[in-house]
């Protein structure tokens, strides 16, 4: 369809979000009126009144394909039952950055997408007013119908769509948004839009894509990170039943790109996968082969005894304050590498033909994938079409696009469409892991139990004075600014293991160490752990944060944190915890990440060394409006249980530069019998709504560990929780 641009409002609305809106060319004659009319890039109206709303962002289970259209539908004022939702193609020129990460979809889209809907509503009212030759101000719209108040006439949106298409579009900045008290869709629970398809087993996921004539591919990469395939018994492999082709991919050295390996193509995935049992590859393992988890731990201990090399934050005089302290507390904390392990292993379908490539990718972040494919295959962005397919979990893994370029390359070299699917073991052993980390804390309390000095020497990964990906400690980490004498500093170890963001990146580990050590301080001070934290937070105040590497960092509001802490204490019955039976205990923690304020309490019972998590209470403040309450609660419960799963058993061990674990036997995910009830409370505050996929995760790990301390007197300073330490 020929379209002209009608609005390019806010080329960079909301910090980088580009919103271009398009207006359909007017229908040339009555015959076209039976066709749907494109209102803008997001909204299509059909004469029968059905509204199709495009969801721009990848769906990874966070519920975005349901939530973003709710914003448009609310202000457009249509009934939710008349809304159909379509997944957008990856097209940054139309939709701006389309990604799932950082819990930023809500803050980025809350205002702009409501304006898209309101603009549509305003145009439909104008079309009706024109039809009746009346003043638009005498007209109202609701539930897909425009009413003329004085004459009690009405016209449906469907009937008005064609005329609306001939009208000038309003300036998005000037459209009038609803008063939140009039919301009919926002704030009501809408179940996942594709759930009826999920529960009946319809093909929805990347792994379900079928392209005519395609072959199935597996890709054997060097078990040692960064290693190269030198040679392989390709002829023997090609002779196996169902195998059509096998070849070495030279690849490069960038992990989020095409790395070296051997591709095998088969008529079924099983045939290709089975052929790997006969595959023999000679690898050049490269320099990472000497790296190991035990080596990292040994080196971290050595570095902890030397002065740190990277200053993060320094205030006051920590040494003098420690000397003057009535009590000094010292503790070493650590956490391991862990994998994302989304249940759908990495996969991608690609069809390279005539210098262009069409890609069906379950990705959280399609456009960087497009750039990698373009660079690696020598194409331009315009040569690459990316269909964003529903992801069977993301958790940050699918922010990377290594599988995408592998599929594109293999399709090009094989000359056929290809569905590449990694095995579970491939997925576990070629991840961008949550990096391990080592924290050496020292703090001093005065005679009244007030924190006078706080030091963290963080031994992390990185090089040239820069932290490795997601291995970061920032200057705004709590309790920075809440303790007068404070030192954050780091020492860095080189790391050949790929690292990357895992749900609540950095925070998922830092929450554990900081909120656990603060718990130790509350014990040393002889104070109630909730009251100790309230005292540490002090008066209600907003602390501005310096811009980070990804732009502005939101401020920290100690009042909002105090409020969720008080709420979770109330809901969990914290004050009555002394009446719990012997062997039971409650632990508390709070954490601020991704604009969200969360405080959580865990209750555990430890008997004969067996840990049972009785219940978790969550209190969160994510602003003035919970857009889709059922989705928000589901995300929070999932995040809390996700954190518990990480703490209970997850560890990735590196030996000889390769990952030891391979499947769910040695990398256990939480199972249903381990999952406690999670009671969720949202505190509605007078702030713009923010995201909820991530911020509920970080506090649950320290809340759990602090509860174990309360129940047993045993302090967990290293993850995963060692069951032997509880006996």
């Amino acid at each position: 369809m020929k379209r002209r641009t009608f609005l390019q409002a806010g080329a960079a609305v909301g910090g980088g979000l580009l919103l271009d809106f398009y207006w359909a060319a007017a229908p040339a004659d009555a015959a076209t009126e039976s066709k749907a009319v494109v209102l803008n890039a997001y909204v299509r109206l059909s004469p029968d009144g059905l509204v199709t709303i495009v969801s721009p962002n990848p769906e990874v289970g966070q519920g975005i394909k349901t939530m973003l259209p709710m914003l448009i539908a609310e202000e457009l004022d249509v009934d939710w039952k008349d809304v159909r939702i379509e997944q957008a193609l990856s097209d940054p020129a139309v939709y701006g950055r389309q990604f799932a990460g950082g819990s930023v979809a809500t803050p980025l889209h809350w205002d702009p997408l409501r304006r898209v809907g309101a603009a549509g509503r305003q145009m439909l009212i104008a079309a009706a007013a024109q039809t009746w030759d009346v003043a638009p101000s005498d007209c109202d719209a609701s539930s897909g119908v425009v009413h003329h108040r004085p004459s009690a006439r009405h016209l449906t949106y469907g009937a008005l769509a064609a005329r609306a298409a001939t009208l000038p579009a309003p300036d998005l900045k000037t459209v009038v948004l609803k008063n939140p008290k009039d919301f009919k869709i926002i704030g009501t629970s809408k179940r996942g839009i594709d759930s009826p398809l999920v529960v009946t087993g319809k093909p929805l996921f990347g792994i379900d894509i079928t392209v005519p004539g395609m072959l199935y591919a597996v890709f054997e990469k060097c078990p040692v990170f960064g290693g190269k395939a030198l040679s392989a018994n390709l002829d023997a492999v090609k002779a196996l039943p169902g195998v059509r082709d096998a070849f070495i991919v030279a690849g490069g050295t960038v992990f989020d790109g095409l790395t070296s390996g051997v591709a095998i193509l088969g008529t079924t995935w099983w045939a290709a996968q089975k052929a790997r049992q006969s595959l023999e590859v000679v690898w050049d393992e490269g320099p990472t082969a000497w790296q190991s988890t035990t080596g990292f731990a040994r080196r971290a201990l050595e570095l902890s005894q030397r002065p740190p090399t990277l200053k993060v934050r320094s205030e006051g005089d920590v040494d003098a304050a420690l000397t003057a302290s009535a009590k000094v507390v010292e503790a070493a904390y650590s956490y391991p590498f862990i994998a994302h392990a989304p249940l759908e292993p990495q996969n991608c379908t690609a069809h390279f033909k005539d210098g262009k490539v069409e890609i069906w990718a379950p990705t959280q972040n399609p456009d960087p994938g497009r750039k990698i494919v373009a660079k690696t295959l020598g194409l331009t962005d315009a040569d690459i079409t990316i269909h964003m397919i529903r992801c069977g979990g993301g958790f940050g893994r699918r922010l990377m696009n290594d599988y995408m370029v592998e599929a594109a390359w293999i399709s090009k070299q094989a000359g056929v469409p290809v569905k590449l699917l990694w095995s579970r073991e491939d997925d576990m052993r070629h991840d961008f892991y949550r990096p391990a980390g080592f924290h050496f804390f020292k703090a001093g309390l005065d005679a009244a139990g007030k924190v006078q000095a706080f030091r963290d020497h963080f031994v992390s990964f990185g090089a040239d004075g820069k932290f490795a990906n997601a291995a970061v400690l920032t200057p705004s980490e709590f309790p920075a600014r809440f303790v007068a004498n404070l030192d954050f500093a780091a020492s860095l170890m080189p790391c050949g293991v790929p690292t990357g963001p895992l749900r609540a990146p950095n925070s998922n580990a830092l929450g554990f160490v900081f909120q656990s050590f603060i718990d130790e301080l509350s014990v040393a001070a002889g104070r109630d752990p909730v009251q100790f934290r309230l005292d540490l937070l002090g008066e209600r105040r907003v602390y501005e944060n310096p811009a980070g590497p990804n732009g502005p960092t939101p401020p920290f509001d100690s009042g909002r944190m105090r409020d969720v802490l008080a709420l979770v204490a109330e809901k969990s019955g914290w004050e009555k915890r002394a009446s719990l039976p012997a062997g039971s205990g409650m632990g508390v923690a709070f954490y601020y990440s991704h604009f969200g304020y969360f405080a959580e309490v865990a209750q555990v019972t430890v008997s004969a060394g067996n840990l049972k998590i009785d219940k978790v209470w969550v209190a969160g403040d994510i602003g003035s409006q919970i857009i889709n309450p059922t989705g928000a609660e589901n995300q929070v419960q999932g995040a809390a249980l996700d954190g518990i799963g990480e703490a209970l058993g997850q560890v990735i061990t590196i030996e000889g530069g390769r990952t030891v674990q391979g499947n769910f036997n040695d990398f256990p995910l939480l199972r249903i019998h381990q999952a406690p009830p999670v009671e969720v409370h949202f505190l509605v505050s007078d702030h713009p709504p923010t995201g909820v996929g991530e911020p509920a995760l970080p506090p649950v790990v320290p809340a759990l560990c602090n509860a174990i301390f309360a129940a047993t007197g045993k302090r967990i300073r290293s993850l995963p929780i060692d069951p032997k330490a509880l006996a």
């Binding site: 179940r191 929805l204 099983w270 249940l343 999670v678």
Partner: protein, 160 residues
């Protein structure tokens, strides 16, 4: 080798190797994509189907072992009363996040309810412990099973 298997009440003629797992027969030969691959070694339950009504991990079930058993997959479970109830409860409780594991969860839940109409928590734990949900929707899975069984759950569902 030539095989004839019954899936969702239909007979299928299949030419495949005897060790080809039922999972890949369903997905790649019969184009029934609802049954999912998660681990390949019976650790995650995403591939759960019914063989003569019993929950079975299709990823470790060789084609040669299926024989004359009646195979039911997520695409067919809605034809049974229990299966339909479970699917409805899953929607009503709004269980799904990413949804990848849910076919397997529903198949395990349907097998449980077909045998134990009113399961206690311990029954649910036993029947569902083999099904991983990476999004950890376990609180709602438990609630949906109870709702489908009509035991001890509140009925306040979620609008479509």
């Amino acid at each position: 080798m030539h095989y004839r298997i019954e899936v969702n009440g239909r007979q299928h003629e299949i030419e495949a190797e005897p060790d080809m797992p039922l999972l890949w027969v369903l997905r790649d030969l019969l184009d029934l994509k609802g049954t999912k691959y998660g681990c390949g070694v019976s650790l995650c339950g995403a591939c759960t189907v019914h063989l003569n009504g019993a929950a079975t991990r299709s990823c470790i079930t060789p084609l040669s072992s299926v024989g004359s058993a009646s195979v039911t997959t997520i695409e067919g479970i809605g034809a049974t009363v229990v299966g339909r109830k479970v699917q409805d409860a899953w929607l009503d409780v709004d269980v799904v996040q990413c949804g990848y594991c849910q076919a397997g969860q529903i198949m395990s839940a349907a097998a449980l309810l077909a045998k134990t109409a009113h399961p206690a928590d311990a029954d649910i734990d036993r029947a569902m412990a083999g099904n991983l949900c990476r999004c950890a929707t376990y609180v709602r899975i438990r609630k949906a099973i109870k709702q489908a069984a009509g035991v001890g759950a509140d009925k306040a569902g979620v609008a479509p």
